[in-house]
């Protein structure tokens, strides 16, 4: 694994915009950055793929464990959440996708930092935009990326399971270029699989006392939501989720996996697993460098790295009220002053692609640049 500095396509902005990628720049700083790329060997790519496939299975074990042992309290999941997790888990409600974030420098096993199992973004760039870049710049090279076919196939499986998933509403926060882009891309993959779709803003969802309805008063029976479960549950309509028979993607059981409490649970179940970092619900002794993460947080917010008892780096944000977990500090590999994190994309139960983000800070944020990759 190495970082190769190069030059961007002279017309890169026009090229990616032609595909509908309208959030390549965030607050006038580049988000999509093709002035460099990462190059992997096949063996390295396979290490990422194998780690993701393996960890996904261990994560399903962890959900089963939480449900059987009633460990919801550790995850700050309340009464409605518990019912929904149990129900959707026992019924086997389908998952569409998720993204593992790994610390990986090409040597040794990839180490799990977290599982974005509920509302992962950067999917469109990983699936479509970096592929276009590969075809334009390195048509002879390869890329770990069968995300698009994977998503279309997965939708077909979900529809084939025959529980009304052939018609689906898609909702996200509007206006929000990145969330809308991700949602619309997923909608396109569903359309390709023959699902009929309808898009609306989260704020437009209505409740008529019996069922959820859309902005045109059509009943919402199945919903893809790019909106965190813990937010759904604490908002005004959250109380109706159980009574309504609304089916959701991602399903409620995913909230066990998107919760950082997953990390100590996994360590407890599978101590010394090669892809895990030691993690606990209690802070470790001060001399152990560790990362403090909020149970429910996103985009790196409220994460702090503690070394020699003092914060090495921290990111502010609105999270942390539900508590924290403490994970042994595994520094991200640094390339020319950039900290790189490897994202491994799960579609259904299979790892289907990879996307890299890098940042000058050791904590990856929502503004961390997306840098394309290839392998030879």
């Amino acid at each position: 694994m190495r970082r190769v500095a190069g030059t961007a396509r002279p017309d890169w902005a026009a090229r990616v915009e032609a595909l509908g990628f309208d959030f390549h720049t965030i607050d006038s700083a580049p988000y999509w950055d093709e002035s460099a790329h990462y190059e992997f060997s096949l063996a390295e790519v396979e290490a990422v793929e194998d780690a993701a496939d393996e960890l996904h299975k261990r994560c399903l074990d962890a959900v089963e464990h939480v449900v059987r042992k009633n460990l919801f309290g550790k995850l700050a999941i309340g009464e409605t959440g518990r019912c929904l997790v149990r129900e959707t888990w026992e019924r086997g409600d389908p998952t569409l996708y998720g993204r593992f974030d790994f610390a990986f420098d090409g040597n040794g096993p990839p180490k799990l930092l977290e599982y974005n199992a509920d509302t992962p973004t950067s999917l469109f760039e990983a699936s479509v935009i970096q592929w276009q870049w590969l075809e334009d710049r390195f048509p002879g090279a390869d890329q770990f990326n069968s995300l698009h076919e994977g998503l279309v196939e997965r939708w077909r499986e979900i529809v084939g399971a025959g529980s009304g998933w052939n018609s689906l509403h898609f909702a996200c926060v509007t206006p929000h270029a990145e969330d809308e882009g991700t949602t619309r891309y997923l909608m396109a993959t569903a359309l390709e699989a023959g699902v009929s779709t309808k898009l609306l803003g989260m704020q437009q969802i209505g409740w008529n006392g019996r069922v959820f309805v859309d902005h045109e008063d059509d009943v919402i029976e199945r919903l893809f939501k790019l909106y965190p479960w813990e937010w759904l549950l604490r908002e005004e309509f959250g109380q109706y989720l159980h009574a309504s028979s609304l089916g959701l993607i991602e399903p409620a059981w995913k909230m066990v996996l998107s919760n950082k409490g997953l990390l100590p649970l996994l360590w407890e179940l599978f101590p010394d697993h090669p892809n895990l970092l030691q993690a606990e619900f209690e802070p470790p002794p001060a001399d152990i460098p560790h990362v403090k993460k909020p149970l429910l947080g996103r985009e790196g917010a409220n994460v702090s790295i503690v070394r020699d008892g003092a914060p090495l780096a921290s990111a502010d944000g609105p999270y942390g009220a539900e508590g924290f977990v403490y994970q042994v500090y595994q520094p991200l590999p640094e390339f020319a002053g950039n900290h790189a994190v490897v994202g491994a994309w799960m579609v259904g139960d299979k790892c289907r692609g990879m996307g890299l983000r890098e940042d000058a800070s050791p904590i990856t944020r929502n503004t961390s640049r997306f840098v394309p990759h290839l392998f030879r």
Binding site: A18, L19, G20, F21, D22, D27, D118, T119, T121, S127, V128, W131, Q132, D142, Q143, F144, N145, S146, H148, E149, A171, C172, V173, T174, P175, H176, E178, D179, E180, G181, R184, Y185, A188, T189, G201, M202, Q203, Q204, I205, G206, W207, N208, V213, H215, E216, D217, Y227, P228, W231, R234, E235, E236, F237, Y240, S258, R298, E299, G317, P318, N366
Partner: protein, 175 residues
Amino acid sequence: MRRSRRVATLLFSGTCLVSLAACEEAADLRVFADVQDCMTQHDENTCMQQFAQARDQHGKEAPRYAEKATCEELYGEGKCVPANAASGGTQSWFMPALAGFMLARALGGPTAQPVYTDRSGYAYVGGRSWGAYQAQGRGGALARTPDAGTSRGGFGQTASRSSGSNGSSSLSSGS
């Protein structure tokens, strides 16, 4: 590991009201962005006249919103313009910008019609109602009229809460 050549796009093109595949064969059903676009299919006179009709209709019938934010929520950022104060009132209104027009004969009606595209790229003809927003009263003024008994806005509250000093208006739901 490589995948097919086909690359999906987010452009669900709002320029054709029939299915995308049928677009080419249904020139009459096309939405034209402007007179020049129209002239690729029809003569200049027809296009000028029809565009003028559509623009008239737009001035009279375009959906209007009291809040710019409400308008942009439906049609997209930067897609809404101030509406002329038609009746001399002090209330200011916002309406979606004209995205294109359709020929009268395509619609089987007496006049050409303005076309608007919502923020998702779906096209809408004329001042037709969209979602729970329905025309009320004269002058095209719009008001929100949800079904009695349906409440809305019960989701999305966390995201719309301000995330503080970094200038972004909504909290990211992604991860």
